[in-house]
Amino acid sequence: MEDAALQSRFAPFVGRESAPLVLDVERGHIRRFAEAVGDTNPIYVDEAAARAAGHPRIPAPPTFAVALRANDPRAGIDLDWRKLLHGEQEFVFARPLYAGDRLTIVGRIAEASVKQTRSGVMDVMVLETVATDGDGARVFTARSTVLVRR
């Protein structure tokens, strides 16, 4: 496509990857997250309840994965946060996250495109975040689609 209007502003950044970040999954962080989202399942705050439910340690709620933020691969890209919309989100889990996990988090700009909408042209970016454990095994992959109004 030669039409500039159909060229994604984010196309030059596809493939850009953040420096790996090592993060510990902390039980206090899990507790604060569960409180914020209003999930009162005791397994997220009480070790005995977690064990009784068959968990080795306190697990994290599924979307806690979003709180394990990679170094931002968008660093240096001019973004107007008032014009940014979160379009889609997906998590694929190999296993639950547990308090005490030490994970390596890498973010990557995976895709760029443009979308013609009723309110005009939007630049679309897919951010992929991969978390691996100490053995190099993938724990989760998160894909986030963000749209920015022009």
Partner: protein, 127 residues
């Protein structure tokens, strides 16, 4: 008729909750807690994190499946903006079963009391 999950209705979202969620999730986009900034973006007030409603999907599915360890995949499309004061109900139904893989595919929705769909989602559960 399709098998449904017991729906979950959350208390109205509060601005305090949005600040709690910003801190817990690390999403510090000011549109979620800075009213003048949100107005400049064309919104009447701050808007809720879409991911907060997606957490309600996580709770719905984990409660139904018997824990977060059963969730293989969780996905959402954000369809409409949610504001402080909105009361969100999440619901789901079984869309397909894969007997060989031992998985169930769920379709999920989040709605406001007036019927506005704020999120559509799906999940894969291994039971």
């Amino acid at each position: 008729m399709k098998e449904t999950l017991p729906p979950l209705t959350r208390p109205p979202i509060t601005t305090t909750q949005l600040v709690q969620y910003a801190g817990a999730s690390g999403d510090f986009n000011r549109i979620h807690f800075d009213e003048p900034f949100a107005r400049e973006g064309g919104f009447p007030s701050v808007i809720a994190h879409g991911m907060l409603s997606m957490a309600f999907f996580g709770q719905l599915v984990a409660d139904w499946a018997g824990g977060p360890q059963h969730i293989v995949r969780l996905a959402a499309r954000f369809k409409a903006v949610t504001f402080p004061g909105d009361r969100i109900t999440v619901a789901g139904e079984i869309a397909a079963r894969d007997e060989a893989a031992g998985t169930v595919e769920l379709e999920l929705t989040a709605t406001k009391p007036d019927g506005t769909v704020t999120l559509e989602g799906s999940a894969t559960v291994r039971r």
